[in-house]
Amino acid sequence: MARIYEKRRSPSSELMGSEFVSFDEETGELTCRYTPPASFASPRGAVQGGLIAGFLDEVMGGALLAVTEARSGTAEQRLPLNLDMNLTFLRMVPMETITGKGRVVKAGKRVAFLEGELLDKDGNVLARATSSAIPTPVPGVND
């Protein structure tokens, strides 16, 4: 059975065409692919800046799930409840498949610090994010 971070977990991950690529236990880095839906397009013909955060949140959240599962097992998986997010936009995000990489900087009991980046097919960094979040149990999983 696929692990929870390998699946599309929600309407939001369906919307963004989320696909699991790999998880590196050593570095705690999760890699996913995303395909922006046509509805994300701004008049510039690229993904609207704010909505870029959707992909980054998705991959950072998946990284926390994967890292907490690898560390302490399925029952101790944690999903981030974001307190804040900082985004840097380096290049326009095209309306084509992009790669997201998410990492856990620190997974504390009360606060988790996450980071993520989006890359185009040539490996250019398009956008970066950091997030502070409260780690919570995964809704519905341990109920």
């Binding site: 309407p11 609207q48 704010g50 955060a53 980054l56 949140d57 974001n82 804040d84 985004l87």
Partner: protein, 136 residues
């Protein structure tokens, strides 16, 4: 299409159900109404945190567009946001303001409220002013 429902033609604006409410010229502050779609929802039952930035970007961007008589639009360099309360699917109100409008760099801020006026999220943005993109 008129200038007051300008946003309705863009794909991302349709997705977020953007409607113009009003613009305060003195404060360079715009008020927009949104409708958060079901497709933004996570297993928590609320809008995915990252996607909240979609609404905030929209209000901040339109504040700049209106402040420049529809001539310019911001190209974001950076957005920071704080998520104070969960945003649920349904109607929302956004307020965006120009904090400082320079020739090379502009600073914007935005807030997102529920219909009872409770603050759900806030943001700031640093952006470059560009001529408004023409839709093809």
């Amino acid at each position: 299409m008129t200038d007051t429902n300008h946003a309705l033609g863009a794909a991302h604006a349709d997705l977020m159900g953007v409607e113009f409410d009003h613009f305060n010229k003195d404060r360079e502050e715009i008020t927009l109404r949104f409708h958060a779609p079901e497709s933004f929802i996570t297993p928590r039952g609320s809008v995915q945190g990252g996607l909240v930035a979609g609404f905030l970007d929209e209000v901040m961007g339109w504040a700049h567009v209106w402040a420049t008589e529809q001539e310019e639009a911001p190209l974001n360099l950076e957005i920071s946001m704080s998520l104070l309360k969960p945003v649920v699917a349904g109607p929302l109100i956004g307020k965006g303001r120009v904090v400082r409008r320079g020739r090379k760099v502009i600073f914007l801020e935005g807030e997102l409220f529920d219909t009872a006026g409770k603050l759900l999220a806030r943001s700031t943005s640093t952006a470059i002013p560009t001529p408004r993109p023409v839709r093809g």
